[in-house]
């Protein structure tokens, strides 16, 4: 009980308090510990946690293969890929320099020297630097295997966002309409095509939408048609009289309108959310430090 519960709670309370009050205590050794060593230990333990994650992954995939569960063949692929990347990361330097040229293996570098008849010698990179050497094997794996997979996983979402926009986003009430309108104005106003849509076009569109709205209440075709024509003529005459340029009136010019929405009402909502989240995090952090929150040891 002491090892499994009270010591972890004590560790959180001690180091949490030290880190929090370290901002306010003007003592050199405490400051040095909080700013440097405490954070280094945090990084080191986080690194071990990554190893734990990798081991857990291997364990799960191995069990799947051993128990011949559904899709076990793909687990073989996962395990093989893991060991392939692990070998490159830990057992192969993968970067041997002959002058400015980089080769994956010592043998390839030596063969290049023989083929070119050069007097250069092979220089291997240091362990540690081998993962960041341009042209090395680890970077090759990053560029051609990790990057395409990682990037494409995220890019898939573009298609699903489009599908969701079409099938799920409905203006069921005023709030949803506000959300959709803000989204549409931002989407069109922030890209170059938004500046090609003149305010005149937006105003004509508003006249059209207004006419549809009028049509739901007034059934007379003559009146509705009259409203539509009056609207169009009114906008045109107003524009000609006021000598509007292609970007006026600014309130109907999508880039200006989106800029206003983005920097004024949107900012207000975002700021409220930021302050709310900030207050929540402060309270939760204090709860962890005072031992009131024990979810990290599995307690409710």
């Amino acid at each position: 009980m002491v090892l499994k519960r009270y010591i972890p709670i004590g560790i959180v309370a001690f180091f949490g308090s030290l880190t929090l009050f370290g901002w306010f205590i003007d003592n050199e050794s405490i400051e040095a510990f909080v700013n440097d060593d405490a954070t280094q230990w945090y990084d080191i333990i986080a690194s071990f946690a990554i190893f734990l994650g990798a081991l857990n992954l291997l364990k799960l995939q191995f069990l799947k293969v051993v128990k011949r569960q559904s899709g076990w063949q793909y687990s073989v692929v996962a395990i093989a890929s893991f060991f392939f990347a692990f070998t490159i990361g830990f057992f192969m330097k993968g970067a041997f320099f002959v002058g400015e040229e980089v080769y994956f293996t010592q043998g390839a570098a030596e063969q290049a020297i023989i083929a070119s008849g050069s007097t250069e010698t092979v220089k291997a990179v240091e362990w540690g630097a081998h993962i960041s050497t341009e042209g090395g094997l680890f970077k090759w794996m990053f560029d051609n295997i990790f990057t395409p997979l990682s990037a494409t996983m995220f890019a898939l979402l573009a298609f699903y966002v489009a599908s969701a926009s079409y099938r799920a986003f409905r203006a069921r009430n005023f709030e949803a309409t506000l959300l959709l309108l803000a989204g549409i104005i931002i989407m069109l106003g922030r890209v170059p095509v938004g500046s090609l849509i003149t305010p005149w076009m937006v105003m004509y569109l508003l006249v059209f939408v207004g006419t549809i709205f009028v049509n739901t209440y007034i059934r007379s075709r003559k009146i509705v048609f009259g409203v539509f024509v009056l609207g169009l003529v009114g906008v045109t005459l107003l524009g000609m009289n006021m000598n509007w340029s292609p970007t006026e009136p600014a309130i109907f010019f999508l880039p200006s309108l989106q800029e206003w929405i983005y920097t004024v009402p949107n900012l207000a909502g975002a700021r409220a959310i930021m302050i709310g989240i900030g207050l929540g995090i402060i309270v939760t952090s204090l709860r962890y430090i005072f031992g009131l929150e024990k979810s990290y040891i599995g307690d409710q």
């Binding site: 630097a129 960041s132 990682s150 549409i184 975002a270």
Partner: protein
């Protein structure tokens, strides 16, 4: 009218794979057949550009590559643009990474910039590299950089690098720029870097993060923001160096138009269905 309504309703129940194809084509065709569209800069992008222009001569600029390959299309053009503007103005660049992938993004950026500027390592730039620890790293940099980094990414001792002379913490830099894709990123740089030290800070973020960072921009804690690929395109036009962000704007524009049309069509189908159900 009835025929039109029936057609809209039919479109509303189409297989989603047709929608995927339409989006794919809306993005692919403008990329294969480039179209020039006018780029209009926004005040938030101009703030970043002006903030960098106002850096005093021969300054030290810290750039943090806090993104990975999944967000490279959005943020990489920004970091390239900032590096170009900083180097053209004669400043030195110090590169740090809070993301492990950020190191490779930095290597790619340096390789590309080197073709233009013929950079000399340890005279024009130092690649400090990646350190795990998220906000703890930023806090560490603010207090003692040499405890966080004893060597650079190649294993060279910082004490042996002439460019690192006099650089001991964040206050020794005149400007900080972070290309940020999430956590850790702009938030951590503001909370543990910019605010405690007072060093001017700017940021380029993914479009998704922009809204969260906007309050910092309005309060002045961040000097402007480059908002996603459109922000990167605006920045490229400000520094007069068109790149992949400007090239992608046509595809971005058409994709947005298609999605807006989808939303409008979807809602039209919804309203027609609602009206018919009310009648009956």
């Amino acid at each position: 009218m009835r025929f039109l309504e029936d057609m809209i309703l039919k479109l509303g129940s189409v297989d989603r794979r047709f929608i995927f194809i339409l989006i794919g084509l809306a993005v692919l065709i403008p990329l294969m057949r480039p179209i020039d569209l006018p780029i209009r800069t926004t005040p938030t992008t101009e703030k970043v550009y002006n903030a960098i222009e106002e850096i005093p001569a021969n300054s030290k600029v810290l750039m943090s590559f806090d993104y990975g390959p999944s967000t490279k299309p959005e943020i990489h053009p920004m970091t390239l643009g900032v590096m170009r503007q900083v180097l053209r103005n004669g400043h030195q660049i110090y590169i740090t990474c809070l993301w492990p992938d950020g190191l490779y993004m930095a290597l790619d950026a340096l390789e590309e910039i080197n073709q233009e500027f013929e950079l000399v390592e340890y005279e024009d730039y130092v690649l400090l590299g990646f350190r795990p620890g998220n906000e703890a790293i930023v806090k560490g940099l603010a207090s003692d950089l040499r405890k966080v980094y004893t060597v650079d990414s190649k294993g060279t001792m910082l004490a042996d690098i002439p460019m690192m002379e006099g650089v001991n913490n964040l206050k020794d830099f005149q400007f900080i720029f972070t290309g940020s894709a999430g956590y850790p990123g702009t938030f951590e740089w503001v909370q543990y870097g910019g605010d405690p030290t007072g060093v001017p800070l700017s940021s380029g973020t993914t479009s998704i993060q922009v809204n969260e960072v906007m309050p910092y921009v309005q309060s002045g804690q961040v000097k402007g923001i480059l908002a996603g690929m459109p922000g990167a395109a605006e920045y490229e036009s400000l520094i007069n160096t068109p790149g992949i962000a400007i090239q992608g704007m046509a595809a971005q524009s058409f994709a947005h138009l298609v999605i807006v049309l989808f939303i409008v069509l979807g809602n039209l189908a919804y309203f027609i269905t609602e009206r018919r159900e009310r009648k009956y």
